[in-house]
Every structure is written in C-alpha cells, then in structure tokens.
C-alpha cells in the first residue's frame, strides 16, 4: 500500500497543474467573452475570394 505515498502526491500535483492552467487562462482573459469566440471558430479563416463575387452574376 506504500505506493499511495507516491500516487497521492502525483494525483495532487496533476490537479494543481490543472488549477494553475485554469487560473492562467482566466487571467489571460480567455473567459471574458464566452459568446463570440465560440462562434468565431466556425468561420473559415480564408481571404475574401474576389473572383466569383460580382453581384450581378449571383
């Protein structure tokens, strides 16, 4: 059972790592706006295609 003395600290350390990551993300402002980024990722990051875009051809 002495393996617990190694496993428990490892588990705690991993947990702490998670909290640290969360706090870092919060302070970087990743949770400031919850709506826009969730939608922004749906948009293709492509430059505007000028070729096929003459209104009259549509």
């Amino acid at each position: 059972m002495s393996i617990i003395y190694i496993l428990a600290p490892i588990a705690l350390f991993l947990g702490l790592f998670g909290v640290a990551a969360f706090l870092w993300a919060v302070n970087k402002g990743q949770f400031d706006d919850l709506e826009t980024p969730a939608n922004r990722m749906l948009i293709e990051d492509e430059p505007i295609n000028k070729k096929n875009n003459k209104g009259k051809e549509l």
Binding site: G15, L23, D33, T36, L42, I48, N53, L58
Partner: protein, 812 residues
C-alpha cells in the same frame, strides 16, 4: 460560390434577399430579377457586399446560428464627418504611439448572427486603414484599430454601408477594467473551490470507507490543507457580506454560511490535532463551490439584461449641422459638442439635438416624446423647440439655447439618475423568510448548546452544536433561489423581455395597480385610416387618386395615409401639377381632372376623429376619418390583468376626448383615466401610490417609469425610457406583458415551493443534530440530497413554466 448555393432567394420569392423580411413593395436591381428587397437600404447593402466580394455573408447567414431578430436596414445618410474633429477624437479615440494606431469602440445596430461577425472582422481586408477589428457578439460592441492618420469618418461610413449604423462609445476604460477584473476573480474563486472540493471528497470517501491508522491521519490532514484555499480564498465574499450585513444589523443568508465555515474549519483542525477524524471539510467546500457557482450564474443572467438596456443609451447623440460663420457653411458636428447660441440646421426625420428657438423655415414636429400628444404640431419661426422631439417635414434652422443636461429632456434624465440611486431595494419573500430562519437558527443553536452542556457535558455539546450549524446551513435556499431567478431572467430574455434586476419578478407579482401610457403603448402612436366614406355614386377611383396624391405629400397625415394604402396594394395613377399647400393639403391633376385633399373643418368633424376630404373642383367626394388606433392585443391584456386581480389605469398627456375614447374601448373605469398629464404630473401620480406597474414608451413617461415599483418600457421606446425602466420589451406590441406577468407569478410559486422543501430538510436535520445523530458522513449525504432535491424542483419547474419553455422554443 455557385449559383445553386443561393437557396435564400428561391425559398420564398417574397423574402428580402438581404434581411429576410417579408417584401411588401418590391425593390430590385435593374438588371437582376433574382433578388428582391424590402427596402432600398437592404438593396444598397446587398450591392455593396457583392461589389466588395463579400457575398459569402449570405451563405454563412444560412448556415450559422442567429442570436437576435433581424430588421430591415436604414439607408445611410450620415456622413459621420463629425468624427474627424479634434474634440471628438480626444474623447472617443485611444492612441497607441508605438504601433502608430488609434482605436475606437462603436456600438453597432443590427448585429444579429454569425455572418455579422464574419463580415465585420473581415474589415481589415476591405479597408487598408483598418489594422484589426473585433466584435463582441453579446454586447454588440465593435472594437476597431486603425492607422493613426486615417479618418474615423471613413471607417464609420464603411461600417454603416455594410448595414450596421455605428454609435461611438466613449472609452470608459476604468469601469470596464473593473468589471473584467471582478469577473475574473469570481471565476478564479470558483475554479479553486472546485479543484479543492473534488480532491477533498476523494480522501473523505476513503476515510468514510474505513481507512485507518497512518492513512487515516495523513488523509485527514490532506483534507485540511486542501480546504485552506477554499476557506481562505474562495469563501472571502461570504465573510465580507456577512460582516457588512452584521454591521448594519440585517440578518443575511451569508451569516450562517460564514459561521458554519469558520466554526467547521477551526473545530476540524482541533479534531485533527487530537488525532480524531470528525471533520466537515468535504461538505463545507462543496457548499462553497455550489454557492459561488449559482451566484455567478445569476450575476451573468442579470448582466445580460443590463447590457441590452445599455444598448439604447447611445442613440441620444447624433450628428447635426452647425453654422460656421468663418466659412459661411454648415459643418457637421457631433451633437454633444453643441454650445449655447450655436446656429444649427435640422433635417426632416432628425431629432432636435437641443432646446432652442426656430430661426428659419416651418415644419411639423412630433412632440409625443415629451408631451404624449399624438397629433404632429406645426412649428414656425420664433417658436420654441425641444430636444428629443422629431422634425417631420421640412429642413429648419434653430438657435441653441440649452444643451445636454440643461434641456428639458436632460433634466428628466438627471432626475432619473438621482431617483435610481434612491430606489429602495425590495425585501423579497426569500429575504423575509431567511431573516426569520437565521434568527431562529441562532436561537436554536444556543438552546441546543446549553441543554447538551448541562446534560452531557461540554465536548458533546460543542460537537452537536457544530453539526447543527453545518447541517442546517441554508444551502438549498442560497442555491435554488438564484438559479430559479436566473433561469426565469434567461427565459424572459429569450422571449424578448429584458429584465434588469431580479427583484422585478416579485414586484410584478405584488403590484395591484397597472398604469398604461396611451400613445405608443396601448395605441400604435401613429394616425391611421379609421373610416372611409365615399359620397359619390359615380365611378371614381378615389382610393387610387388619394394614394397617388399623398405619395408626394410630406405632411405626416399624408404620409401615414399613403403608407397604409401602399400596404393594401393600391395602384398608382400619373399625377401632374402636384402642389403641396403647406399645412393645408395637396392638389394635383389626374386624367385631366383637378383633385384636392385637405383637412375638413369642424362641420365635418366626426366624433373624436381627425378628418380629411378629397375634392374634385369643389365637390366633396370622400371623407376619411383618421385616428390613432388601439393595438389589437390591448383588450386581451386588460382582461388578463383583471383576472389577476390587478386594476388597469390609463394615464396620458393626450386630451380628454382621445383618452376617454380609448378608455371606453378597453372598458377601463372612468375614474381610472387620467388625461392631460405632463411628465412631472405623471411622476407625481406614480409616486403617490405603492405597488404599481407603469408601462410606457415616451420620454414623458420616463420619470414615471423610474419612480414606479416596476417600469416597463415597450418596444420602440425612446432611449430615456429604456434607461429608466426596469423591464424592456423588445418584441413589438404589448402582448408579452401578460407573459411576463405569468412568468413572474410562476417563478415566485417555484421559489416558495423550494422554501418549503428546504424547511422540511432543515427541520429533520436540526432534530437529528440536536439529538446527536449527525456525523460527518450523514452530513455529507444529507446536504447534497437537499440541494439536489431543490435543484431538481427548480430545473423541472412548474407545469406552466415547462409549457412556456416549449412555446418559446418553437417561436424562436
């Protein structure tokens, strides 16, 4: 992009290709029959998007989610040149000297879907001056960074051309930063408490499971150290609240919570020192996490309402034209920078930006905003003009006497601000209940401590009192009420009702009297055709004639007759020799005959109606009666209000005649009608009685909206009223008001049910604890069960709430 992709055209030939609205009269491009538009504004935006290679917008719009209702586009008329002035840049722009850029924030009208986001964030590709652009969808705030040498007016015009009229936001950086900081702190606290609570539970479970010996004491100490961040960091808001309310002598739900946390932690520490494991670290830290979380959700739901109401507050300022004597021309400036004795020019359709005196021209103005009167008033030289009223027919010039907060509108606004800070918070049912609960809890603990001390000795007495305090901690209460309220706030927002603060829900339920404004609230606020009497039997197309003549009229009555006939699909006849007799009527020749439309004198005046007549030469052909007609849903609403045992009142700035007509149409008692009320009198009336709801739209209602227990501003309200009201209805009409009332009463029912459940649990818990049956294990089981029951009850809701959710989902 292929031709086939454009299903939005073929889906319904009657939907506008840009905004999707129903097309009443078609607008098309000359060489394009595929696309139909509802107005020239939408057509203009469509053409700009196509020419700039941005047609992908329409594809995205089809696929992506929609957040808000869409409306047709107003055509851009502003040049935004006032944005290039120094005083404007100083106030609204932020300079960055290292990157040689400046940034501005705009509130944009018309943000509604994913495609809007795409379009606006493509701005740097369309306009080289724009370095970066970011849109916040939830608040419709657009942040643009541009080259420091570029003109802001160009950028603003570009945005407006895309169909989003921008309103500059002054950079209130401090307030924003504070809010962001607060939000981040809340989240950090929740995160830390979640991590600690979960790890503590891990070790607690093994302790309950029978861990013994060296493991037991090590696990015990681990739970203690893990609980420290929760008690010392995450729980700070509870301590602060408990302390500040204690100082004021008000019982608050945070007091027993704070007490349980402090006593539980210290007692647990002593237990551990004595080598025992009777600790409550697990229950307490889960409690902290759940409470923080539910409060955060309520805060978010409320903030949504506040954000949306803020949106209205920028529309007051706009551009205007000021006479520049040096150059001898009118120059565009931002109305906020107007000064006393400036000479300005106001175009038709614009709002007068200041109080002053007319110096040139004559026009009709809509004063309903200030007076509540529905008929447009004629304004001549030397007459007074008030800020906030609308110029309807002709361009005029005026001299500015008072600006911003010195105007009549400004004074109303100021009054609203001071009143708002004085508005007393409502002592809700939950507050009252928890006050009693907390006091009886403290008394009970003292009794249990005393009795057990005498009968069983100090150590048993302390441990039983401790378990009592922890197990009766009103977590179910503190958890369920915010969740129930935030859920109702969100449901209401989905249905287009924006509630600014949660105590409105209870205020609505308590209200006994409901005051309606007349113009624009119970009625449409515009004149429409009520009666139509053709006097001649000869076959004359009177409808077509009137339609064609009024088409060119600028008089508000003419405009409303024209637009109503247009909706009916009347044919147009060619008119020659058209002439508008200012303030009197119009005349013109159709098919060789001269026709005239003019106001009829008193002899023809029918009861309570404005009448106009169509003449051929001197023969009267048709009499049209006009009135500001009642909204169709008004009668239904009044009936529902009666059923809820509330009494309806009408208070209006309009004359006796009009008010009593509407009153009798709705069946409101004569003694409940108030006519000829000025904004100040309305305010007086509302403050003289308690438990009332005021529903209105104009600036003349604003002070009353502010003063009443619940002020409801209906759709189309002016900015001032939006700011003053507690509730803002975004869907047209007053239909949703009955929904709001039902939602409120159901929410209060739900909260009361939750109270009963939590009393029941606490009674069992308190009895068990004072008799010594509560151990850390039973507390760890009992507390979550009570919270879960209440949560279930909240989420499952009442039958009515479930039906409401279903119907709102269908309509959205």
């Amino acid at each position: 992009m292929e031709r086939d992709n454009h299903t939005y055209v073929t889906e319904s030939s009657l939907a506008c290709s840009h905004c999707g609205e129903k097309v009443i009269s078609e607008f098309k491009n000359l060489d394009d029959n595929l696309h139909v538009f509802c107005c020239s504004g939408c057509r203009a935006v469509f053409n700009i998007l196509s020419s700039k290679g941005l047609s992908e917008y329409y594809e995205l719009k089809q696929k992506g989610p929609t957040f808000r209702a869409r409306s047709p586009i107003k055509e851009v008329q502003e040049s935004y040149r006032y944005m290039d002035s120094k005083e404007f840049e100083e106030e609204f722009a932020n300079y960055d000297s290292t990157t040689k850029t400046k940034s501005v924030r705009f509130y944009l009208e018309g943000i509604h879907c994913l495609a809007c986001l795409w379009l606006l964030e493509k701005l740097p590709e369309i306009n080289r001056d724009v370095k970066s652009s970011r849109l916040d969808l939830s608040s419709s705030v657009f942040h643009v960074t541009v080259d420091e040498k570029s003109y802001l007016s160009n950028i603003a015009r570009e945005i407006a051309e895309l169909g989003y009229p921008p309103h500059p936001l002054s950079s209130n950086a401090d307030l924003d930063a504070l809010e962001t900081k607060e939000n981040r702190k809340d989240l950090s606290r929740i995160g830390v408490s979640a991590f600690c609570a979960m790890n503590i539970m891990l070790y607690s479970v093994s302790l309950y499971g029978g861990a013994s010996g060296a493991f037991a004491s090590k696990f015990g100490w681990t739970t203690f150290f893990l609980s420290l961040p929760v008690m010392l960091y995450s729980a700070i808001p509870f301590y602060k609240n408990a302390w500040s309310t204690l100082k004021k002598g008000i019982p608050s739900i945070d007091q027993p919570v704070a007490l349980a946390l402090i006593v539980g932690t210290i007692a647990g520490f002593i237990e551990l020192l004595q080598g025992k494991n009777e600790t409550y670290f697990d229950s307490l830290s889960v409690l902290v996490f759940l409470l923080l979380f539910s409060r955060y959700i309520l805060k978010k739901a409320q903030k949504k309402g506040l954000d949306s109401s803020l949106a209205g507050s920028f529309f007051g300022n706009s551009q205007t034209r000021r006479w520049n004597p040096d150059k001898g021309t009118f120059e565009e400036i931002y109305s906020r920078f107007l000064k006393k004795s400036d000479l300005i020019k106001v175009m038709p359709g614009e709002i007068f930006p200041a109080d002053g005196v007319m110096t040139k021209g004559e026009t009709y103005a809509d004063l309903s905003l200030l007076s509540g009167e529905s008929t447009p008033q004629q304004l001549n030289v030397n007459q007074n003009v008030f800020s906030g009223t609308t110029n309807l027919t002709n361009p005029v010039e005026m001299k500015v006497d008072f600006t911003s907060h010195e105007t009549r509108l400004g004074k109303i606004l100021e009054k609203i601000q001071t009143d708002r800070s004085e508005k007393s918070p409502l002592l809700t049912t939950v507050d009252k209940f928890s006050h009693k609960f907390i006091i009886s809890l403290f008394i009970l603990s003292a009794i249990v401590l005393a009795i057990n001390w005498i009968l069983l000795g100090a150590s048993t007495a302390i441990s039983r009192t401790l378990s009592l305090i922890i197990v009766t901690c009103p977590c179910a209460l503190a958890l369920a009420t915010p969740l129930a309220l935030s859920r109702s706030l969100n449901l209401a927002a989905k249905a287009g009702i924006i509630i600014k603060s949660f105590d409105v829900i209870e205020r609505i339920v308590r209200a006994k009297k409901i005051f309606f404004d007349k113009t624009g609230t119970l009625t449409y606020g515009t004149l429409s055709i009520d009666t139509w009497e053709d006097l001649t039997k000869i076959d004359v197309p009177t409808k077509e004639i009137i339609f064609s003549l009024e088409k060119q009229s600028k008089h508000p009555v003419g405009v409303s007759i024209y637009s109503q006939l247009k909706e009916e699909g009347t044919n147009e006849l060619p008119v020659t020799d058209f002439f508008e007799h200012a303030g009197l009527g119009v005349s013109g020749t159709i098919n060789g005959q001269t026709y005239q439309i003019k106001k009829l004198d008193q002899n023809f005046k029918q009861e309570n109606l404005n009448t106009v007549g169509l003449f051929r030469n001197d023969d009267l052909l048709t009499i049209i009666g006009l009135k500001d007609s009642l909204r169709p849903e008004a009668r239904d609403l009044i009936g529902k209000i009666r059923k809820m045992n509330k009494s309806p009142y009408i208070v209006s700035g309009d004359n006796d005649e009009n008010v009593s007509r509407i009153g009798s149409e709705l069946g409101v008692n004569r003694e409940n009608l108030y006519s000829n009320y000025s904004p100040e009198e309305k305010h007086q009336l509302v403050s003289s009685s308690e438990d009332l709801i005021m529903i209105g739209d104009g600036a003349n209602d604003a002070m009353a909206l502010q003063k009443s227990d619940v002020g409801i501003a209906v759709s189309g309200s002016v900015e001032v009223s939006l700011r003053a009201a507690d509730v803002y209805i975004t869907t047209p009409g007053i239909k949703s008001i009955s929904n709001l009332m039902e939602l409120s009463s159901e929410t209060i029912k739900l909260i009361k049910r939750n109270l009963i459940i939590s009393i029941f649990y606490n009674l069992i818990g308190a009895t068990a604890a004072s008799m010594g049956f509560i151990t850390p294990l039973t507390a760890a089981i009992l507390m979550p069960i009570s919270s879960l029951t209440v949560l279930y009850s909240t989420i499952y809701g009442t039958g009515w709430l479930r039906r409401w959710i279903k119907t709102t989902e269908v309509t959205l």
